[in-house]
């Protein structure tokens, strides 16, 4: 057989296409794709959940693909029949979109060993909660001498130009506004008090960061000294030697449950369930709770310890008592209008 130019060109193009789209040739037997969060979450999940999962499944192939919940939804809803992701992690707001758009398959609760040990708030059959995130007050102890105890402390005149917030695009920014409304007589259905409070905060505002990650770096640059902040983001800065502390407001720590979902139509549904099982296991959550990860556990069998016991809750009882959860089904309905309003009204 002789090869002419056409055949060589065709073969070359095919090879090129295959290397561009490796998924094309491996569609049947692809790795389990776990879409985790970026940064320290990915590290924590790679170091703790993945080894446990591989041991439990006889070294099943797994790949982590870190991104935001909203990006996971965008990717999965663009390819519903053949989703590029098998396990998705969701913050409370996006979680409802996933359920509403029918993008997730239910977790096989009856076959699960660890599901019943989760705290009741984390026992969600659409996708169980595998950890909590906590939002409190972040401050620079070198500049803020008396540790803050209340959200109201952000309005103190001595913090003129030193307060940072994020816009409402992020879960953090939206939850902060809802909590603000709640502490001032409003709530998920009445955000007005929060916008009024933000107007009063204007002289103190040093920065409105585009996202929580950018907010955290502003402490490093000395741009801000006090802000609402995510406990885990603060722990990363602390580990890098940045002077930041986390304070629990007396009205409660804002908490979000992060849930893990099996993507609907995943070709790896069984393995996806096994991964979520590993993420719920008490030994995994105990390890994740310790340094350097500080992930707040949802499994009631985990003994609180270290920084989590000191800064968040010494046991599950205190956790239940101090965590404030918001109603994201109401928030999601109103959020578009709030963001539009924030776009228009908040100028620094």
């Amino acid at each position: 057989m002789t090869l002419d130019r056409r055949q060589i060109l065709a073969a070359g193009l095919t090879l090129g296409a295959m290397s561009l789209f490796p998924g094309m040739s491996w569609a049947q037997a692809r790795k389990l794709v776990f879409a985790t969060f970026t940064g320290s979450w990915e590290e924590a999940h790679r170091d703790v959940i993945v080894p446990h999962f591989r041991k439990a499944t006889g070294n099943a192939d797994i790949a982590l693909d870190p991104m935001l919940s909203v990006d996971m939804i965008a990717k999965v809803s663009a390819a519903k029949a053949n989703p590029p992701i098998d396990v998705m992690l969701m913050d409370p707001g996006p979680r409802l979109s996933v359920i509403g758009q029918d993008l997730a398959a239910p977790f096989p609760v009856d076959d699960s060993k660890n599901y019943k040990d989760l705290l009741p708030v984390a026992q969600l059959p659409e996708g169980p909660g595998i950890f909590f995130q906590a939002v409190g007050i972040t401050y620079n102890p070198e500049k803020v001498k008396t540790p803050p105890t209340s959200w109201d402390d952000l309005w103190k005149p001595e913090y003129k130009g030193r307060v940072g917030i994020t816009n409402m695009n992020s879960t953090l920014g939206t939850a902060f506004m809802v909590e603000l409304a709640k502490t001032r007589g409003g709530g998920e259905n009445d955000i007005e008090p929060a916008f009024a409070a933000l107007k009063e905060l204007q002289p103190n505002l040093g920065a409105v960061a585009p996202n929580p990650g950018a907010l955290a770096t502003l402490f490093q640059q000395g741009q801000i000294d006090i802000s609402p902040g995510n406990f885990n983001a603060i722990q990363i800065l602390r580990a890098r030697g940045v002077p930041v502390e986390f304070a629990k407001p007396k009205t409660g720590t804002i908490a979000f449950l992060t849930t893990a979902h099996i993507t609907k139509n995943s070709p790896n549904a069984k393995l996806a369930a096994a991964l979520i099982e590993s993420a719920m296991a008490p030994e995994v959550q105990t390890k994740l709770m310790q340094a350097p990860f500080y992930v707040i556990p949802t499994n009631s069998k985990v003994q609180m310890d270290g920084d989590i016991a000191r800064m968040i809750a010494k046991d599950q009882e205190e956790l239940k008592a101090s965590f404030v959860f918001h109603d994201w089904s109401v928030i999601n309905q109103n959020r578009a209008g709030w963001i539009e309003r924030f776009n228009k009204e908040i100028k620094v």
Binding site: D4, R5, L13, L68, V70, D71, I73, A74, S97, G161, T166, N167, N169, G173, G206, A207, V208, A209, P210, N211, A214, T217, L218, Q221, G222, Q223, I224, R335, A336, I339, N343, K344, I346, K347, V348
Partner: protein, 296 residues
């Protein structure tokens, strides 16, 4: 494959277009690539923008009516286009002398200069942008300098201001302006300047009457690149501009990713693209006019 005729041997009938043989087929792979990965998504984008509601159930022009019916949206569009003008003007102002210096330098100096000009392109835009956060922060280089010189009593707010953003964008996009300028300025015949000097023109007059008009094509090309890059610079706009300064790229991101309002996001994308195209065409017209000017 005996049917192929070498272009040079083409018969008299095709002599007017001596180069059109079958070589155009070589452009087919790229054309196909563009058709599949650029034109198709673009048409999809137009289609999505024509849905009347966020749930994408009915068609209608509602998204465009919503966009143009709210002065806030027009203000966002206007400030984005204006941001591009400010950045482009400053980049030209600072870039032109640099490009001119390059063409007047010896080979050693030229390699040093080209390194300085290219260097920003070799680091990621994220890294360059973060450097600006360090420079502009409250404890940053600029503020520390101002405080130690006694020019300011309290640190100034530089980060998350439009001035800071413009400065960062000018630095980040500088190579896009300087490289086309260098190309045109190096092709400029130095005898022309000598001739104008011999005829009695001073250095400024020589520059205004000879160098500047002849370098217009480079200016237009540089401005085009810088403008398009500055108005769409999502990363720099959000990291240095902050969360309360809204420009079109973040607006599109917000509507797509946070609010899942794809039809509105698609509509603002189309409006934004058309507006930028409009500005680009304006630059092109200038470029064409300058050609006429040069040859006149």
């Amino acid at each position: 494959m005996t049917a192929i005729t070498a272009p040079g041997l083409a018969g008299p009938a095709t002599a007017a277009w001596p180069r059109i043989g079958r070589e155009w087929t070589l452009a087919l792979p790229l054309a196909a690539f563009f058709a599949v990965f650029f034109v198709t998504p673009l048409l999809l984008l137009v289609a999505v923008s024509l849905y009347a509601d966020a749930e994408m159930t009915r068609f209608g022009l509602d998204q465009y009516i919503r966009f143009f019916g709210d002065t806030f949206n027009l203000a966002v569009l206007g400030s984005t286009l204006l941001l591009g003008v400010k950045v482009t003007a400053l980049t030209l102002l600072f870039g032109y002398p640099l490009a001119w210096l390059y063409t007047r330098s010896g080979p050693r100096m030229q390699s040093a200069l080209i390194l300085v000009i290219i260097l920003p392109l070799l680091t990621s835009v994220v890294v360059r942008t973060f450097a600006w956060i360090v420079i502009l922060g409250r404890d940053g280089i600029v503020n520390n300098l101002l405080l130690s010189l006694g020019l300011a009593e309290t640190p100034l707010r530089l980060l998350y201001t439009e001035g800071g953003l413009v400065a960062a964008l000018v630095q980040v996009q500088m190579p896009l302006m300087v490289l086309p300028l260098i190309t045109t300025l190096s092709r400029l015949d130095p005898n022309l300047l000598d001739a104008s000097a011999a005829l009695g023109a001073g250095p400024w007059r020589g520059f205004l009457k000879v160098t500047l008009p002849l370098s217009l094509p480079g200016i237009v090309a540089g401005c085009l690149l810088t403008y398009a890059a500055a108005v769409t610079a999502f990363i720099t706009q959000s990291l240095v501009g902050g969360g309360q300064m809204l420009f079109m790229p973040q607006y599109i991101y917000q509507q797509t990713i946070t609010l899942h309002n794809w039809p509105f996001a698609a509509a603002i994308s189309i409006v934004f693209m058309m507006s930028v195209l409009g500005v680009v065409m304006l630059f092109n017209l200038l470029g064409r006019a300058s050609k006429g000017y040069v040859h006149a």
